[in-house]
């Protein structure tokens, strides 16, 4: 039997930053909203006293239970995709606030170059600079248009930072000052300055002082407790949906959060979305929630899968390179975030202290801030040092040449436990015709629905940008005075590990309905009352952490939905034919 609920203005899937921001904004605007979250209800109390490295970092306490549902993965079109079976191989968030709770909090605005990458690349280097088969494209929105949304999200989150000396223009300073500088960060800043770079403190959503956001929500001061990334914050000091947008939505009195509510289909009729069909995972009972507007904020994987399962939009076909749902899968994989590790004989650092986003960075080698004329790749990334706070299981780094176990390993792992630092390049990831998602022909979830299948491989672009970054990191580490420096190795091929949560694309935004699924309000071209929000909208991946951009897009979408409801419908952006089709 199916339980049919009363119609509401908006039904949202997912309670992370994407879903949470929309719920708060639409609730405040007086719209009736239902949020469906597949996970359990969680509050700050659930994260008090949980500083347990094994349970959270190594057993992935906060991640999706893969026994019900996972993804499958392969490199090329002619391979059989294998399921990603364990949480050692994949982290995706669930429960109240989703991955936006166990995130680390490193906050970057993406660059003007990111949003107009194709035009700006052609303008500076000519059309030939973009290799055959690379399907990067403009977003249909510029940085200047995004700026107010970045600003709003940072104010909601209480982002704590200082201005990037090479960054794009800002209408306001960060709402809070940067986190304190620890000795490793100081060392990094001095070294990069000596080399002529422009270091600054990583902007952080571990909040540097007690802060009340514009919605009246209070975020406490970060204690540098070190149990941060992959954990919920013990103190309500990490900005996440649980301490910000979820209570704001609740306070409006207009938003009904339903947990254990697993969305299976976007219902639709005559080209219009009519609501969401979901299952109460405690009983197995089917529910239907009708709404005037449907918004998906279920993270990249589920956003794609829900559209494919619901037969919405034309699935991308790599053979003919037509269709758009699933096109341009992208993200930061293990070929990004590579660099160098330095071992210091004469220095010991308090590496057991830290915060998820405590770090130093620089933008000299980000985006198109440096000349690519003679380089064999596009785009760039930040160079970061981070002091997350290492647990005792994590701190087992030994110089290359040390055996991985046994007597010498033990001796070195103990000696270097507080003597090694790492820096890395947060390289961008470009999109290609052969990287995409569709539905798996073999593997199914609990309900018998096909899993999402990812086809992804690396290219020379990925290997070249990684090599460049590793060399720069090594030079900086030398300047930092490390006695032994180990460079990271560049993987030949994508190895099907989906750790780190930076996966994107598939429901990408743009100004041409032939090459994009959503317009610059995250509204589906093909179904005007359906909005698909999150990293799924990125046409390619910038050279920085993604979440501020996701938060900003969510504000943009919320504004669009409100306008759509108030104006009685219609497309919110004009379709434009782009001259390029690859």
């Amino acid at each position: 039997m199916v339980t049919k609920h009363d119609k509401v203005d908006v039904v949202i899937v997912g309670s992370g930053w994407a879903g949470g921001v929309m719920a708060a904004e639409l609730g405040k605007a007086g719209k009736k909203v239902v949020v469906l979250e597949r996970g359990e209800e969680r509050e700050t109390q659930d994260y008090v006293g949980v500083k347990d490295e094994l349970r959270y970092t190594n057993r992935f306490e906060m991640m999706q239970n893969l026994s019900h549902e996972t993804i499958t993965s392969r490199n090329t079109l002619d391979e059989t995709a294998l399921p990603v079976r364990t949480r050692d191989e994949m982290m995706v968030g669930t429960d109240s606030g989703g991955g936006s709770v166990h995130w680390a909090g490193a906050t970057y605005r993406w660059l003007p170059y990111d949003f107009e990458i194709r035009s700006k690349t052609i303008e500076r280097y000519g059309e030939d600079k973009i290799p055959d088969g690379m399907t990067i494209q403009d977003w249909g929105i510029t940085y200047d248009e995004m700026e107010p949304y970045f600003d709003r999200w940072e104010k909601t989150a209480g982002t704590s930072g200082e201005e990037d000396p090479l960054g794009p223009p800002r209408s306001n300073d960060y709402p809070n000052p940067p986190l304190k500088e620890s000795p490793p960060i100081k060392l990094f800043k001095e070294a990069t300055k000596n080399l002529g770079y422009h270091p600054y403190q990583v902007a952080s959503c571990n909040v540097s002082q007690r802060y009340e956001n514009p919605d009246g929500q209070v975020i406490n001061q970060c204690q540098f407790c070190a149990f941060c990334t992959q954990y919920g914050c013990d103190f309500g000091a990490k900005s996440d949906p649980i301490v910000t947008v979820i209570p704001t939505a609740q306070k409006s009195g207009n938003v009904d959060f339903r947990y254990d509510a697993y969305a299976r289909r976007v219902m639709h009729e005559n080209g219009r979305a009519t609501g969401i069909r979901y299952v109460d995972t405690r009983t197995g009972e089917e529910h239907e929630q009708p709404a005037d507007v449907v918004a998906l904020g279920a993270f990249s994987f589920a956003n794609n899968r829900l559209l494919l399962l619901s037969d919405i939009g034309e699935p991308y076909n790599p053979e003919t390179r037509t269709g758009f749902i699933g096109r341009n899968f992208n993200g930061q994989f293990n070929i990004t975030f590579l660099g160098a590790r330095g071992f210091f004989e004469k220095k010991k650092f308090n590496l057991y202290m830290g915060a998820g986003a405590l770090g130093g960075t620089m933008s000299d080698l980000a985006g198109d801030n440096f000349d690519h004329s003679d380089l064999d790749f596009l785009h760039g990334g930040g160079i970061e040092i981070r002091q997350y706070g290492d647990g005792a299981i994590a701190s087992n780094h030994v110089p290359k040449g040390t055996p991985a176990w046994g007597r010498e390993f033990k001796k070195n792992s103990i000696h270097y436990a507080n003597r090694s630092l790492q820096i890395w390049y947060t390289a961008a990831n470009m999109s290609w015709w052969h990287n995409y998602v569709d539905l798996d022909p073999t593997y199914k979830d609990d309900f018998g629905d096909p899993l999402l299948r990812i086809t992804n491989k690396y290219t020379d672009q990925d290997r070249n940008i990684a090599k460049f970054g590793i060399e720069k990191c090594k030079e900086i580490m030398e300047e930092m005075g490390a006695d032994i420096i180990d460079e990271d190795e560049i993987p030949e091929e994508f190895d099907h590990i989906y750790q780190g949560g930076h996966y994107a694309g598939g429901v990408i935004m743009g100004s041409d309905p032939d090459t994009s699924a959503v317009n610059n309000y995250l509204q589906m071209w093909d179904m005007e009352n359906l909005f698909v929000v999150g990293g799924s909208a990125f046409p390619q991946f910038g050279g920085h952490h993604p979440t501020a951009t996701i938060g900003a897009l969510a504000y943009r979408a919320a504004e669009g939905i409100e306008k759509y409801l108030n104006d009685g419908g219609g497309l919110l952006a004009q379709a434009k034919k782009e001259t390029f089709i690859t």
């Binding site: 893969l66 540098f224 975030f337 436990a417 780190g500």
Partner: protein
């Protein structure tokens, strides 16, 4: 305080911090804060240590490995991976074998949260996958807080418990074949040779490559040595003492920018939770 803050502020510990003006003023952090709270929440004087030790002994018995010789083989293998030396105890003294036994008896060992649906292929592609050896701390963004050991690649129908049973028995088989003695009786260098063969994926196993088993064995040995003692390893926090690791603490607000290394006596999760 606004009503909103009051509502949020239901945690007695946080209230305690706020009332004492510690966090709000940002004047006192770190050890003093930790010390105050610990005093508040730790019950009982030090003389109870003896009882605690007896109690701990009672908490260690095999609940997964039925055959003692399998458990002994496991113990010898973990000791070979993390041996006792003049820096401190090895895996056996730290309780690692019991840690692994307990882990395998629970949801980790039965793969409760893993995708375990057919088909499980056993072809070249799978073998190739199992042999990939990217360290876990290099497996993408936000992974640098993970152990720098290879990610075990999972494409087998066996759950981890079944894999370990087969694995330790196979260690013993290889040992008898090669050296005519059970693994526990071998010299360290011979034990190392056998484990290396597993690590290189050279030992035949049924349904899984030996490399996958070995990567789990390596990972779990380190976990047992350095996870909170509540899980049965890291006996008396000796693993943490070797590494000068302090265990879970509330705050380092006043110490995070200090230049010198600050050594602290470790405290356990139990002490942290009070």
């Amino acid at each position: 305080m606004t009503q909103d803050e009051e509502d949020k502020d239901t945690l007695s510990r946080r209230k305690f911090i706020k009332n004492s003006g510690l966090v709000a003023g940002g004047v006192v952090g770190g050890s003093l804060l930790g010390g105050l709270l610990t005093n508040q929440f730790t019950s009982g004087p030090k003389t109870q240590t003896k009882n605690i030790e007896d109690h701990e002994a009672l908490q260690h018995a095999r609940v997964f490995f039925n055959r003692k010789k399998d458990f002994d083989t496991l113990a010898a293998a973990t000791e070979c991976i993390l041996p006792e030396d003049d820096l401190g105890p090895g895996a056996i003294l730290l309780g690692v074998p019991y840690f692994i036994d307990k882990q395998l008896a629970g949801s980790w060992g039965t793969n409760a949260k893993e995708y375990m649906r057919d088909p499980f292929y056993q072809d070249e592609q799978v073998i190739d996958y199992e042999h990939k050896d990217t360290p876990q701390d290099k497996s993408g963004p936000n992974t640098s807080t993970k152990a720098p050991t290879p990610t075990p690649r999972y494409q087998t129908r066996l759950n981890r418990g079944e894999m370990f049973l087969q694995g330790v028995r196979q260690i013993n088989e290889v040992s008898k074949e090669k050296f005519d003695d059970p693994f526990t009786k071998l010299a360290e260098e011979d034990q190392i040779e056998i484990l290396q063969a597993f690590e290189n994926g050279e030992v035949p196993m049924t349904g899984v490559s030996s490399i996958t088993f070995f990567n789990f064995l390596l990972q779990m040995t380190l976990e047992g040595a350095y996870a909170d003692p509540v899980y049965g390893g890291n006996k008396d926090m000796m693993g943490w003492k070797m590494k000068e690791y302090p265990g879970p603490r509330m705050a380092y607000l006043d110490e995070i920018d200090k230049d010198e290394f600050i050594l602290k006596e470790p405290k356990s999760l139990r002490e942290y939770q009070g």
